[in-house]
């Protein structure tokens, strides 16, 4: 049997390769932005040294939600719209697990919208990645709540009727929002930085990732992909800093303090240029699991004691 210090030493020595987090071969379309997100989270797991058996990727239904199948961790590919409450149940029962949620714009902002609002309020320690490609992919091209006005799809052949919903302003508008960021699939380096910051934040870390769907809305983000000036890079010592290489390409940069929620809401309202970075972070918001878990070790004895005490209240003695 190993001693405690030997175990600790072993843990310290533990190094995993990227391959150890790679599950099945992704079956997303060629050029799908989900591949970039997958690469970012696999790198995150490796660099943060997450034990695969202690890590759970939870998803709903849609192209985004296939991600858990491509990880070699625990995964929970659930039902449409319900990834968040499932993840909450996991986290409340087992705070020792690292819990990620992969959800899409249909899954999170449409069928699961009620859960999204309340998940923000619960502020459980989850890393939530919204794969937002502005379209339903798995069901073959229907308008989603984030489709820009006029998007032509199979259910809106003459163009969509409503203005797009902004997941960032919605999230920033809910009580207890504690971490809101935006990334894009076509800048992998900042995507990785942002996802890492999200993981390290203790609370409900919401990252909207603009993600290309070459199959159904191939030109959706083209103007931004090809014009770095139309990207607004948020930098701050409490946020993220761009590498020299990125600084050269993305020159449209602004200092933004993630503690400033009013400014965060203004930035969130901008669709063009697209802001990238951490909009808001507040580590002081309490986590629901900390509020609810008593820390009491639940043993047969504690159950027996409390049960007998309750029985005493209602007992009619002979």
């Amino acid at each position: 049997m190993s001693t405690a210090s030997a175990c600790l030493h072993h843990l310290f020595e533990e190094n995993r390769s990227l391959e150890e987090y790679q599950g099945g071969i992704p079956r997303w379309c060629k050029g799908c932005g989900d591949n970039a997100i997958l690469a970012a989270v696999q790198r995150l797991c490796r660099d943060e040294g997450l034990r695969p058996e202690k890590t759970v990727f939870v998803s709903g239904i849609g192209c985004s939600s296939r991600l858990p199948h491509y990880m070699r961790t625990y995964g929970f590919h659930g039902i449409h719209g319900r990834a968040l409450p499932i993840a909450e149940g996991i986290k409340l029962a087992r705070p020792d697990l690292h819990v990620f949620v992969n959800t899409g714009d249909g899954d999170c902002c449409s069928i699961g919208a009620a859960h999204w609002i309340h998940a923000i309020r619960y502020n459980m320690n989850l890393t939530v990645l919204l794969h937002d490609n502005h379209i339903y992919g798995l069901t073959k091209k229907q308008a989603s709540p984030t489709s820009p006005l006029g998007t032509k799809s199979n259910t809106t052949p003459r163009g969509s009727y409503l203005d797009a919903m902004s997941p960032l302003t919605v999230t920033l508008g809910v009580q207890n929002a504690s971490f809101v960021a935006q990334a894009v699939d076509w800048i992998p380096e900042s995507l990785f930085q942002i996802v890492t910051a999200a993981f390290r934040h203790r609370g409900f870390s919401f990252v909207r990732i603009l993600q290309r769907c070459p199959e159904f809305v191939g030109s959706m983000f083209e103007p931004w992909v090809h014009d770095p000036e139309r990207m607004l890079m948020l930098t701050h010592e409490d946020g993220i800093r761009l590498s020299p290489a990125l600084q050269k390409i993305y020159r449209n940069q602004v200092e933004h303090d993630p503690a400033n929620i009013h400014r965060a809401r203004e930035i969130a309202s901008s669709e063009d240029p697209i802001p990238v970075g951490i909009l808001y972070r507040n580590p002081a918001v309490p986590c629901y699991e900390d509020l609810r878990r008593s820390g009491m070790l639940r043993t047969t004895d504690t159950i027996r004691t409390s049960l007998e005490a309750e029985f005493d209240k209602f007992t009619v003695w002979p």
Partner: protein
């Protein structure tokens, strides 16, 4: 107790104390006047004296219905007996009403026996409002005309001598009257008051004891009748709780850690109680944003190792169906409690019905086999939760426990359970999974597999609601799809082989067998007892497991000339002009028995929102037994 009273001069005739084997008493008031507390206390005192007791709440649908309204009756029905009491019984023998309008509601519903004794608050007759005085007078005349034995009682005036706000103390005055009329032990009554007001000041207890004693003295001086329902003190400690509290205590006892719920009548009080006590034992009640989330949350919690529970009623159950299907498909154990109420849609939220059996068994799209149990008594509510947790965990299945509104608020004493370590869920397994083992390594005979939970090294896999193979890989091929369906279905058969054949109540064979499930057990068995005493060859069979059904049922059904189910759900009436054998909709259990056992099973059902009473069942069975084809 009565000896000293003979000297009192108010009453002109000596008090006649009759001995009864049982009695049904109703107490009703406007909401907030405390009739429920009075009724429950009366039941508790009788229970302590050793009487069989069953109390049922009379609940208005609104939180604050208008005062003095027919639909606003709030109160209790208490049935006490010399022997064990298993249901609310037939019409009431005695009714206490705080105003004549709430009484009318019960009269119109046919809940009072012809000639029922009525103790009626008399103050309304002298009301300054001529409309109220007239209503009172008219009602009184009607009741007297219909043969009710009405005694006008100046409850409020009597209470005013002792307290400044008689509206608040009247219920304890009434409790005192009832203790006198039913010869209950006043020391136990004083104890009861000390218990219910235990958290309040000594002054409050004193004032309520004074009201109790005043009520007792008033009845002693003014009413020349009384009853005694002899009882033998229990030799073992008894618990007196309602069905929902029993469910909550069962959750605690089963070792489940997490209950996720959303408020819904009549299930919520189970979660209220659990919220109060669960956390002291390290458990958590999570009030989710909706029913769907509550189910998904419980599934997420269960997935990580320990079975979780979600508690709801019909409409909530409908919303949970998709989540339940996920748990079935992914073989995540889960306990779901459905405290049924009147449906469909919003239906009758506070009233009892047994209409969710088929949706529970067959609900959720696709083939989604799950275990369905029904609770048939308060005691059963407690133990069912422990059983449900163990089955869920052993078989990696969803177990649905059906209760209903009539058990939810009914109280019945039962022997205090003796704690067993076997009740409690084992700790979460975090051992490494053997190399090469698969998360769905379905056993070819039983369909069982050992699930892997997060934290177990080597167990990593992605659980999915999609069709999957033994390694939990998404599989669209026909062969694998059938393998999964096969395994999930086999688990029910494996459970069925472990169940005991149900026991027949009455003789093992005869002319007529009455089959039931859930809360109707007490009423059905009581009616069978009565009919057997009349010489009829009638027996009863009650099913705790509806899916899978235990072995041996067909053999039992075949030993009887006729089989009929008695249930609280809809069935078409055979004498309606358009109804015939080709279109008659049978009740839920009748349909299941007919299809499974190819036996001709008839049904008699009621959906009147009240618990089915033994008298109605007897009447119906007598009618059938009188028919030609029943005579041998």
């Amino acid at each position: 107790m009565n000896a000293a009273v003979e000297t009192m001069d108010v009453r002109t005739t000596p008090k006649q104390v009759a001995t009864l084997s049982e009695a049904v008493i109703e107490i009703m008031s406007d909401s907030g006047e405390g009739a429920q507390k009075c009724g429950q206390s009366f039941g508790s005192i009788a229970a302590r004296m050793g009487n069989g007791v069953w109390t049922v709440e009379i609940i208005p649908a609104e939180i604050q219905p208008p005062a003095r309204s027919i639909a606003g009756a709030s109160g209790n029905r208490i049935r006490i007996g010399s022997k064990r009491i298993t249901n609310g019984g037939d019409e009431a023998d005695l009714a206490v009403a705080f105003n004549e309008q709430v009484l009318l509601g019960r009269v119109n519903a046919g809940e009072l026996k012809p000639g029922c004794i009525v103790l009626l608050e008399s103050m309304w007759g002298a009301s300054a409002d001529p409309k109220i005085a007239l209503q009172y007078r008219e009602t009184l005349d009607r009741l007297l005309g219909e043969g009710y034995r009405v005694h006008e009682v100046p409850m409020e005036n009597e209470c005013r001598r002792l307290v400044s706000d008689p509206r608040k103390g009247k219920n304890m005055f009434v409790l005192g009257m009832l203790c006198n009329l039913y010869s209950l032990d006043m020391d136990l009554a004083r104890d009861q008051i000390a218990f219910i007001f235990g958290k309040k000041a000594e002054k409050v207890i004193k004032s309520n004891v004074a009201l109790l004693e005043a009520g007792h003295a008033w009845a002693e001086h003014n009413l020349d009748f009384g009853f005694r329902v002899p009882a033998v003190r229990a030799t073992e400690p008894q618990l007196v709780i309602n069905g929902n509290t029993a469910i909550a205590l069962g959750v605690l006892a089963s070792g489940m850690d997490i209950c996720a719920m959303y408020p819904i009548t009549p299930a919520t009080s189970a979660s209220h109680y659990l919220s109060d006590v669960f956390e002291r034992a390290g458990g958590i009640v999570h009030q989710a944003e909706d029913e769907i989330a509550a189910c998904a949350f419980a599934i997420g919690a269960s997935y990580t190792g320990k079975v979780a529970v979600t508690i709801t009623s019909g409409p909530g159950y409908s919303l949970k169906q998709e989540g339940i299907g996920l748990a079935v498909m992914a073989e995540i154990p889960l306990v779901v409690v459905n405290v049924q109420r009147g449906g469909p849609s919003t239906g009758q939220p506070t009233k009892a019905e047994q209409s969710d059996l088929l949706t529970t068994m067959f609900g959720s799209h696709g083939d989604a086999p799950k275990v369905v149990m029904a609770t048939s008594s308060i005691e059963d509510c407690f133990y069912s939760m422990i059983t449900a947790r163990r089955i869920a965990e052993t078989f990696n299945m969803v177990v649905v426990v059906l209760s209903d509104a009539s058990l939810a608020t009914a109280q019945q004493p039962f022997p205090r359970p003796r704690f067993s370590e076997d009740w409690v869920a084992p700790p979460i397994d975090q051992n490494p999974v053997p190399e090469g083992a698969k998360p769905y390594d379905w056993d070819p005979i039983t369909g069982l597999s050992r699930r892997f939970v997060p934290g177990q090294p080597n167990g990593m896999h992605t659980l999915t609601g999609l069709a999957h193979d033994r390694a939990s890989r998404v599989a669209y091929d026909g062969e694998t799809n059938e393998q999964g369906m096969h395994a999930r279905s086999l688990k029910l058969a494996a459970l069925q082989k472990m169940l005991m054949p149900p026991k027949v109540f009455g003789a093992e064979e005869g002319d007529l067998l009455v089959v039931g499930w859930g809360s109707t057990k007490g009423a059905i068995e009581e009616s069978v007892e009565r009919l057997r005493a009349e010489g009829h060859a009638v027996s009863a069979l009650h099913l705790q497991f509806l899916q899978p059904m235990p072995p041996g049922i067909k053999e039992i059904l075949q030993r009887f000339g006729q089989v009929i189910t008695v249930e609280g759900n809809w069935s078409d009436r055979p004498d309606d002009p358009l109804i015939d054998e080709s279109n008659r909709r049978y009740s839920a259990l009748a349909m299941l028995l007919r299809s499974r056992y190819l036996v001709d099973v008839d049904c008699w059902t009621e959906v009147r929102g009240r618990p089915i009473n033994p008298g109605s069942i007897c009447n119906e069975l007598r009618r059938r037994l009188a028919r030609e084809e029943f005579r041998r």
